[in-house]
Symmetry: D2
Subunit: 399 residues, 4 copies
């Protein structure tokens, strides 16, 4: 091991910086997953995670990545060949589509320019046209991690309702849960997909499905073969705090601590903090003279900001220089944005000074890389963060 002084800045849009409290909680000895201590732990996290999703319904927790939770959402609710309406908001929406295809479903992908979220009107129009109700589910990504665009789930729900269509609504919140306001019940979502390694501030290794009653009913009829991901298998033992197969015990220790931390700060404060850091970041980006991938201010992501670079700039070389010279990891432009953008994560266990360090790393990287940019991005962010208005905005949002 070669020592680099100071802490690494992990500013990819997840996995995020895991706080010490979570790491320490995870380092307790593993216990008997059939014993009374585990029963208490299981009951606590299965109950405690619900408000984070904005639901009073069950949340299923898998030992898996978020990708596994995608698969679980599909195989529990659909039958082979079922049509799923999806929306190409970016790289991850596309990967989810590919998964649906490989699993033998029939995804229909509405394409997009990767600079906007899901268009509720387009969904409404497509569902209205689906008079035979061939479409069994609408599957969308809440916060598209590859673009920094947050789709408006409540309005999508309204669009489905206006179309009077019975399709299930499946939503990926992998990079928004615990960072951006989300309401599984109030927004009428049927399956919410999440992972542990972003707003929940845990290492990767847990996948989540929050499920509506309608989703549970659909699961009873869904003919896709399934075993590991089967909700019903989970929900029986879950009622008494247990799991049907060995759970990822130590990550559950971490989850218990993370839920405590979110509650200590207060979810409203957590969301307001992310909003404020995102706005500061956008001010820095604009001051540098760069475009933000997301074009619709109503859809700005509070978890990450994807930055478009001028044509003559290699964003991957820039990221490499920043990693080597300033020990900070940034996210690459993916797929359609490869070579055209980089991404700044500002989610999870984060504060004003760490954001200032992050933006300083970008600005110094731009200078060292010889990129043409306007200095002053960090200054613009500091001006916003220091201003009483921003503080007030945060406290207002938190009410």
């Amino acid at each position: 091991m070669s020592y680099k002084s100071g802490r690494h800045f992990l500013q990819i849009p997840g996995p995020t910086n895991v706080p010490d409290r979570v790491l320490h909680a995870m380092s307790y000895p593993t216990i008997d997953h059939r014993g009374p201590d585990f029963k208490a732990l299981g009951a606590e996290v299965l109950e405690g995670i619900r408000p984070v999703f904005g639901t009073t319904n069950p949340v299923i927790i898998f030992p898996s990545s978020g990708t596994g939770a995608w698969e679980a959402a599909l195989v529990n609710t659909l039958s082979p060949g079922d049509r799923v309406l999806m929306f190409e908001t970016g790289h991850f929406a596309t990967l989810w589509r590919n998964m649906a295809q490989r699993l033998g479903f029939d995804p229909e992908l509405v394409d997009s320019d990767w600079r906007h979220g899901v268009d509720p009107a387009a969904i409404e129009k497509r569902l209205v046209a689906d008079t035979g109700h061939q479409i069994k589910a609408v599957a969308v990504v809440h916060n598209e991690t590859s673009t920094g665009v947050t789709s408006r789930i409540a309005q999508i729900r309204e669009a489905i309702d206006r179309a009077n269509h019975p399709a299930l609504l499946l939503v990926d919140t992998i990079s928004s849960l615990g960072s951006i306001r989300y309401e599984h019940d109030a927004w009428g979502v049927d399956v919410t997909v999440a992972g542990s390694q972003k707003g929940l501030m845990l290492p990767p290794g847990l996948g989540f499905n929050a499920v509506s009653d309608k989703a549970l009913a659909a699961a009873r009829d869904a003919a896709q073969p399934r075993s590991y991901w089967d909700w019903e298998e989970m929900m029986g033992p879950n009622e008494s705090g247990f799991f049907p197969y060995t759970p990822a015990t130590n990550l559950l220790y971490g989850l218990r601590e993370a839920i405590n931390m979110l509650n200590e700060e207060g979810l409203d404060n957590v969301f307001a903090r992310h909003d404020r850091h995102a706005e500061a970041t956008r001010r820095a980006v604009r001051a540098w003279g760069f475009d933000i991938v997301c074009e619709n201010p109503e859809e700005y992501s509070s978890a990450l900001t994807a930055v478009l670079v001028p044509d003559d700039v290699d964003p991957d070389a820039l990221r490499r220089l920043i990693l080597e010279d300033f020990d900070m990891s940034l996210g690459a432009g993916l797929s359609k944005l490869a070579g055209r953008a980089f991404r700044i994560g500002h989610l999870g266990d984060f504060n004003d000074l760490t954001l200032a360090g992050t933006l300083s790393g970008v600005e110094m990287g731009l200078q060292r890389a010889g990129v043409a940019y306007q200095p002053g991005g960090v200054q613009a962010a500091l001006d916003y963060l220091a201003a009483p208005e921003a503080a007030r905005a945060q406290s207002r949002a938190a009410r």
Copy 2:
């Protein structure tokens, strides 16, 4: 939290006591799973884990429980409706069969008395009868965690070969890998299934598939829909140390440390240690006047010992008393053995004095519970452990 002085004795047959070195390794900050530091980590564990399976072929690592690795073994190699020959060695073999059924395969279960391992002759006979090669795979459990019986995989391989049958050989080593000698390549196994939480001394959360070339070829034809578990998706990125979706980074830190520890002790020494502790445990059990579930000495498990209790003894009440009075977790009798047996785990990060404590807890529990037993079990174990012969046996085995 209410303090109980001293350490808990986690003597279920897994998850096992996680050593400090592993817990500490796991508590380092999560890193960018697309960056150079991860690449080095990934390459190291993907390479380093192979000798533990006795293979030079790839080993796939999933963020999942061992149950997920069961599913991966089936869905990568089989097509819907494929017949799989399974053998009812105990509770876990039965669960694997149930999974095969739920996933839409056609498992054929050879039944058994739960006191013996897989009968190679029975396999041979069945395969010889399968002239049309309807059977696509033979799936067996190496060490049946519910009974403490270790099946003879090398002889099963020979039986398949004698039958001249093309079926794949799938083997579950969830509770044997890293504890009981196992040779994926030398024994001609096609898929070896394992998990992190037993002999590998990690918390639960990683599933493994070691794969033969024949298994990889079968995967190319296997028509079962799959995505999360797909080997090919994994093996591409794995070649450069990466994973197709977010891996359980912190468990991989732990895996690196666990591999180091196994190598420091030497796998031969690890196996000899488990053999010795198992023999000491059996001597204690016999001294108490109880039967061991496993009837065939060639099939004694070195990872756990399942103990039959007299008809008038409630083993679960005994386990409860031992948990409450002596802070030790033991394994329950499962399914057919429920109410008739309990199980002592003696695998993983374990030594002579911890075994002595474990057996002392059982013997004191027997006395407190008012069970009719012969005292002297601990003494018998100590006599064996202290004798120079046992030490010599261990060092001989280790050569």
Copy 3:
């Protein structure tokens, strides 16, 4: 590092096995020792430690070993050349005497056979003879770590009172505090000396002085030059939770956790547990046919047992064999007991099964070393520990 499977048994009479909760508490980032978070920590430990000493008076906490707390007790209360009455209960009492001499005081050592505690009658007699009140302090060791003999402090207090002598009473509780009942106030002790690494279950690095009002008054007149150890310098800042120089912050985190743990178990239960483990150990030692160093049953130590070995046995070779073969550390015979005894620590974070493992390690070591002994020591201990009477005794003592 070379991996030895399982946990090391640290059965010296301190430092003791540090529990995970303490180690984890200690691994939080160091904070500003002048800031509000520290103030809360300081106030909590300075207040919370008092009941552990059985005092409502201040307890001073030094960044030091217990040896430093010895020095602090002397230099705060005495003037150069002052006479101190000491009692040669064993190695550590002798070392404290040597320290007093080196610091320029005038210690008078009453000698002893190292198999008994301080004789209250001898103290009374000496003090009565000291009509000129030359003796300024009586300094005794509560639990002599080198012999496993616990002196009767309450009776020493009565002896001093009967002699109507103004000498201060200084007591070393380094290896008894938090393990053996102790009452600073009720027993009229003036200065109680302690360290962190035994019954408090912490790593070494903190020294303690509990101080009576009489001791504080003496300190105002004491002319010995002092700075680092000066109580008054400490007590000012301590009133608001702070320290005059940088405290050992992370050990204080551990201390807060240790105090919580002692309170969760309840001090009475803690003492009863130590008594019960000590009795079990003595039964094992007697069953093996060996003598216990302590000759007076009223003075048996509940923290450790020193065992005399037959003349032809080399206890250090035995300890070495046990360390190498069974990964357990035992205490050596010191000074007058060198080559004649070894010591078993049974204090701190400890339970029945760990004690069983400890005694098993000794018994197996005796066998491997070829020592002439009677088998059955472990059995005798288990019989005692398992018997309902012992459990009842413990619960009775705990009331």
Copy 4:
């Protein structure tokens, strides 16, 4: 506990941010301080620490704070009433003087304006005048933590030599060791005093004395009573890796790791990094329009910067606001500088982005507090840090 998102910025001039590697190293179980594993640990740290002091002579390690190491330096080398020449560079030099007085020595304090280091010419002059060699030692602070002024030790040595005076040279490096170039042997220092909690990146709890042969010779004649701090007592057992009384084992684990880290980075690189961060900080301070306490550029401290605030500014209110709003601890102005200055620590485990976050916290605090200042301090620091010249300067210095 109430969760504050993100990491606390501990930017007092020590204790410093303790890196994870050190915290993890410290969280291993305590071991037998008389056993073979400890012997190896002790030998390794006692040897490995020497180059950090720039010495091949012994370094004594105490379980104590740095204040204890001050006391050790005095009591080992001096006799009651001995005169010590000291220099009032700031608060800590004054405290050391007070200690000398309380211990019964005769300190003579040369006063100063707290904005300059020790004046070598003044020392020379005073020593020349001391024809009777009454002065037994010159005791100076290398880096005065209260002012951010670094005295020129090599030139002080030359001044003593020019005066041809036999006084010992005692140097406090508590806030410089491991941060600012220091050469115990080459600079002819007799006793170097240090602590664990600054450049060594450990929690507080270890004190150090590096000792010249001349100091050891002086110790043989020094008549001050001493026991805990006695070098000779230490050096005997140290020769084989042991300590005369229980050492602070877990802090020694941390020390081993910290030495490894310093060696991995390379001491020259460590010093160059501190120099560069200090220069960036000064550029920020000047851009804000504030004065630096240190007036002589040759004496700028690379470990901390003390900033003078305008008369109408309350620096403690500013620090409180920064702590509450931005979760950063800064150092207060002490004693003569109370209410006139605050201090920024930029030492230990630190990097460019953490420095950027630190300076951002100060600048945002100035704005929120309504202090009259010139914006642009952070920008000035970033310009310097990003410039290739600074990088080159660092690499040049590191050669």
